[in-house]
Symmetry: C2
Subunit: 156 residues, 2 copies
């Protein structure tokens, strides 16, 4: 398991695939984003998108799924938030999403010795490299208290 101390700024990864179906788009939209261009093919044809497209929040959720499945070696405690989320191109039925990630920044918590914050740039792209979404996710990551206390004996 990689702790906060083991995370390297600049570390890049590319991984994962999630193919979205028409039924999944409509199912998500019914529950969380019931706008015509996410719900109904005919109505979507007359919209700005010219056809059925996934809710942007579903596209973000798919990126989360790919992250959880593929970044399995980090001692994450949960998410703090997200900056600069942008939807570049809508996701359509049959599209497959892949992720490109890069560690942008890390900083220790000022109030808690046992954790730090890691900012990861995430880009979701389709098979032909079209960028559908990008954001900077801030994760809370456990510090390696054992190793840390060796180098900072006064902190215990």
């Amino acid at each position: 398991m990689r702790f906060y101390e083991d995370i390297t700024v600049g570390d890049r990864r590319e991984f994962g695939e999630f193919r979205i179906t028409k039924d999944e788009i409509i199912e998500f939209a019914r529950k969380y984003d019931p706008q015509p261009f996410h719900l109904d093919e005919e109505a979507a044809e007359g919209s700005m998108f010219g056809g059925l497209v996934a809710s942007g929040w579903q596209t973000a959720a798919i990126c989360m799924r790919l992250t959880v499945e593929n970044i399995t070696d980090v001692a994450t405690l949960g998410g703090l938030g997200v900056d600069n989320l942008r939807w570049h191109t809508p996701l359509r039925p049959g599209d497959t999403v892949h992720l490109r990630t890069e560690v942008l920044d890390k900083r220790p918590s000022e109030s808690r010795d046992d954790r730090g914050y890691v900012t990861r740039q995430v880009e979701g792209v389709t098979d032909d490299g079209t960028r559908v979404i990008s954001y900077e996710g801030i994760e809370i990551v456990r510090r390696d208290i054992g190793a840390d206390s060796e180098t900072r004996p006064n902190s215990v």
Copy 2:
């Protein structure tokens, strides 16, 4: 229908309610965020959260649902992105989310005469006023071309 020109910076609204169940938390997590503290009550008790909590992306999706259901009078063309999203307190089974929104900013598109961007602060709070999520959503809103062309005759 309210167009870009009809949106007032500073406009505040409070509305909506969405009560989340344990089953909904687990169903969303299985599909989009399969981490133990979103999936399994027993595993969640041993986590930082001390019990089952909703995926932060589900909390965001619930805010979208409440927005779509309650802000029905704006000529929106879709979402551009989100800034400063923060998860303040995790959402737990039985919690009910309400929204507080405020229009922070609006600006016309530089490349397209027919649209502008509206930034709306969104806060999701539970019954007792605990803030679970906040973000600034940027929406693309249709301009009232008819009225606009009267005041800018050279633009057509």
